[in-house]
Symmetry: D2
Subunit: 384 residues, 4 copies
Amino acid sequence: MKKILMIPGPVEYDGDVLASMSIPTISHTSREFIEILQDALRNVKLIFGAPEDSLPYIISGSGTLAMEISVANFLKRDSKVLVVNTGYFGDRFAELISRFTKNIDVLKPGLGLAVDPEDVRDAASKKDYDLITVTHVDTSTGVRNDIKTIASALKDKNSLLVVDGVCSVGGESFDMKWGVDIAFTSSQKALGAPPGLAIGVVGKRGLERMERVDPLTYYSDLRKWLPVFKSALEGRASYFGTPNVNLIRALSVSLNSIKKEGMEKRIRRHEIVGDAIRSALNTIGLEMIPKSSYANTVSAVYLPKNVELQKFLSQAEENGVVLAGGLIEGISSKYFRIGHMGSVGPVEVLATISAVENSLKNNGARIEAGSGIAAAQQALQKLS
Amino acid sequence: MKKILMIPGPVEYDGDVLASMSIPTISHTSREFIEILQDALRNVKLIFGAPEDSLPYIISGSGTLAMEISVANFLKRDSKVLVVNTGYFGDRFAELISRFTKNIDVLKPGLGLAVDPEDVRDAASKKDYDLITVTHVDTSTGVRNDIKTIASALKDKNSLLVVDGVCSVGGESFDMKWGVDIAFTSSQKALGAPPGLAIGVVGKRGLERMERVDPLTYYSDLRKWLPVFKSALEGRASYFGTPNVNLIRALSVSLNSIKKEGMEKRIRRHEIVGDAIRSALNTIGLEMIPKSSYANTVSAVYLPKNVELQKFLSQAEENGVVLAGGLIEGISSKYFRIGHMGSVGPVEVLATISAVENSLKNNGARIEAGSGIAAAQQALQKLS
Amino acid sequence: MKKILMIPGPVEYDGDVLASMSIPTISHTSREFIEILQDALRNVKLIFGAPEDSLPYIISGSGTLAMEISVANFLKRDSKVLVVNTGYFGDRFAELISRFTKNIDVLKPGLGLAVDPEDVRDAASKKDYDLITVTHVDTSTGVRNDIKTIASALKDKNSLLVVDGVCSVGGESFDMKWGVDIAFTSSQKALGAPPGLAIGVVGKRGLERMERVDPLTYYSDLRKWLPVFKSALEGRASYFGTPNVNLIRALSVSLNSIKKEGMEKRIRRHEIVGDAIRSALNTIGLEMIPKSSYANTVSAVYLPKNVELQKFLSQAEENGVVLAGGLIEGISSKYFRIGHMGSVGPVEVLATISAVENSLKNNGARIEAGSGIAAAQQALQKLS
Amino acid sequence: MKKILMIPGPVEYDGDVLASMSIPTISHTSREFIEILQDALRNVKLIFGAPEDSLPYIISGSGTLAMEISVANFLKRDSKVLVVNTGYFGDRFAELISRFTKNIDVLKPGLGLAVDPEDVRDAASKKDYDLITVTHVDTSTGVRNDIKTIASALKDKNSLLVVDGVCSVGGESFDMKWGVDIAFTSSQKALGAPPGLAIGVVGKRGLERMERVDPLTYYSDLRKWLPVFKSALEGRASYFGTPNVNLIRALSVSLNSIKKEGMEKRIRRHEIVGDAIRSALNTIGLEMIPKSSYANTVSAVYLPKNVELQKFLSQAEENGVVLAGGLIEGISSKYFRIGHMGSVGPVEVLATISAVENSLKNNGARIEAGSGIAAAQQALQKLS
């Protein structure tokens, strides 16, 4: 019996992406590999809406490496940072940054709330932050911040705007040209390739800031890595660390299929899918963690009282759908999460809602079976 | 957007079965390959319920090759054959047999009906048939014949009972020890491996009959092939034609996973899945081709009047589910077919029913959305 | 420790061909598959040098199925056939044909000799053969017949010229427009895809002959299959038996890489490789079975007296090279065979010659170590 | 034409390792994945000769991440470090460590020399180093240090002995129980899996030291990671960053095949292969960078004067063998490197030597063709 992976990363990957993983590893300095890497880097820039004068990277590591890269290269010991925290990965951002500077202010809207862009502007007006970090979509809560408005509100500031796009890029509307200086994601979410790659882009202002910073770290030192990717963009091989050849090939296959689908159509598909899932959960009578700013890519949903998380998850899995538990301390066993990104469509949505309905029912929740499905079906009509 | 393959073969295959296809081809006479082949042959015997003194085969070809093998080796020019015809593959059986003998009687219950075992016995009492062929489940109609009772009804006859198990073995209860002399299937259906292998077993009476027959064909001449498989069962390499090394490896992976699941549990799963699909279709108000003897593995369903097949199928595909049209001449555009075999479970069932509901609705059929899903959900409860 | 497969099929396949095998199976009637099949069929025609008005086929089965197809569709019970026999597969051709007609004449040059085209013409002048079959390269002996001259010698005859190209097409110069009516091969040799596909082309005169023949066989009945491939060439789906979807995809990958290399360059590479191997074997002092007409694709080589085949082969395998034993009755343990087709190049040639040298030495043969390698190296210079 | 990858990582991987990469990604917290991870961790311990009370890790990243991990977690700002530098990766070690402390002494034997263990002991007697780092085999020079004797010489010291085993573990005799506190490698070399994983083990003394250190880095902070791997060893899921699921599965396949071969036999094979390559190069008349302490896994070889590196490499590649250039500043274009690890055997050795011979000859070097091959053949005899 097949199971589908509906956690917020890794997700279900396309068959040709997976198959490409098994092509024999080639030399990381060969012409063939440089072309694959060049192609992947170009598509990364495209998908991030990266300006011409920015530089992308693709480095072996998880999303947390990309997070470290995005601050370690831009902070001095006395730098001032504002962290917008809308969940677990906001906590992580603050904790990680505290390794590099202790001057950290945190803007933390209540659980389930996106940050008010005005609040970010206010804070930035009171203190001259070197860096302002925002999690676009926090994987732990499914809350989506409004990056476009935040970027616009910060246009006249010197602060670098760093966006954690791990749970958004490829599934949410996103454009560095809104005024984002540094952005990152990882391979395994909306970019549709297996986990193992930290991916990001540094814009012009970020590149300038780097010149005045001596990073304390080494593996995440972009001065080591960026020349390699600059070379690759120009079609030449260069070396710092051995790249994940097979996974970069798989990423390249996935990015090309994203390009083929078209970003607008892809984001719209994620939007409809997100709507369909929320509509279904709402009809079933479940409450979501986000109060309004819902992500396209992940849904965090409170369990009805008396339904035990582990039992709920394992029952859903018996229905063929692998879901995730919570990540927010204190309530991590009170909610579950659905990842809906990548090549997700009606098959995954309907199987998931059905598994949720079934599992709730079998765990004693009073729900009207099929009502969620009907709502999802209705919402999915917009796909055609 | 992912699509799932819900046609009656090929179907969705397990990830490890597919991945094993890309292991580099090894010599067909190597120890390693002989062990893989030996293992696959043993598991074929197990799954067919084959008696100890029978011989299995796995030959490059489609199910039609297995059909030819199952008659060409047992018929003389004057042999008498009774063909039980419950659909397209019954027609094919008769047409194929007509190459070898003209003494063919056909027992053809009305469309949607399984044969009455008594009728088979009666026919066999009136004429001394050399061969009686029955399609266990006809892929074109989803009608399932009662092999066990038929075999029992023929116990005292000299006729060889040949069963086309293409759409049944691995998904329907089946046991050669009921009294089946010759049986066959192909890789791509309920055995869970990609298409390309004709698979079958010849029991003791069949092996004896072979000694008195000179087949007119060559590629399907078992006297050429059986020694190869006999050798392999004994752990020795032997050659007639180059085997499909990669696909036999994949089949072996799949057969081992079947063995691990356990035949009883597997058949029960197919039964529940079949019930769930029928229950849903019934609730939606669709009529099925079978009047009573429904297959676990495939459902043939009339479209509501005014719903056009091609539009229905392409709408279902936009919902991520690939279905098949009809195969029975005259009504082939009036019904559709769902294949539900292999590793099929709730994910596939619910996505399918939802796609059917949506597509019907969008094609103007009046159906109560979600009702089918609810019925399927209900029926699937039995899986746990 | 890796082993390379240097038997005359299966051979070493490219990594992307193998990886493509694991892409999930798609519907055999889907647009995507029809395009893959169409592409493969077009490339088959290209590689066979097939005239515009010919029809190609790709059917699940081994090379022997292609052989059956190539005669069963063109012979009546009283047809007269001339079989040119230069090895094991010449024997098989005669045996296979004897299922369809008893009027068979065999032209069998001595072991190791190619047929003299004049002898074929003489025979054809004396009797009005319906079919003349020639094995281009007999896998058992490595003898290559001169198809071009034979075809030319038969230009004014009514006989259909059938060529077994199993061990040649893709590795030897071959062009149906020389005057070949029917030709075939299988996937696993010089076409570079795993075993499992019978592949061939029927020219105009063959298609006309088919109209006057009722084949006795069914699975190999081209009247059933050709409409399917004609449809595919025109971009439409059609059904007779379920095609080997995954393997046809892999074949398509391989055929495109053949097209990319270019037929002329590819044949030249096989020629140089064949020369290099023979030059090495000759230097080592080994005698080959062919007396002059050597194949590019396979070499059949006598073992020195006192060297035992099984020991020789297993020693070679310990050196990482899998070789094959003999196939010709009476001398099958006195010679070994090397397959050198597909993506073969210096790596395989040198590893093979070295394994041969080592194994001979370890089995007591007096050879000058390294002499073969030096000769091969010399001959391979022409590759650059 | 196939090419083999004979650079010092990535190398040629086994077909089943590559095929396993394409198995659909599963949840990183699933039972199935935890079992795979547990198995891989246990085998890592086995292959490192890790004591019972040590802890292993497998983290997405290149070998340089493992290097950072191996110092960042054990150093304070005032820590004293001795770096044994025998090549490019010794330089890297020193540079990397300089991010964490400025108290670095470097012990640098002349180019091509291994360190004298007595010199390490002397240095360690004069200063109380917190950490002593040694590169087992420096990938840039192929010089192998004698870890066993060094460890023995340091037995009574408080210094932690850190060994960079990137180019050794799995191909050289290595045992943490000799007295190594911290050791690491990466997936793509002698462990036989594609690049992308930083792999290492921390012994008891290292774990104790960690308790007194606050790492400045985050992604390489073992306090975050080790609990995850401790859990996995105990069969429980835990989370810090999303693991590279597919690659860990591939690693697990490779580690199991290493275990099956047996460490002793595997090291012996690498030794014979290294000997064969050196013997061949020596016969050809080439000088190696190491003066005596040759690695089993990589050979660094001076080009004859007048032979240009890029021409040499591209000619070798035309012969099907991908080699690497130099890495040591100042002489990087004067030598080339051969990686010979993983599943390497006679096929790769002979193809490589032949490509080297050919390429040298075609680039004007005066060498006796075939002499290298003969020497390699001779040395490879010991494999049987």
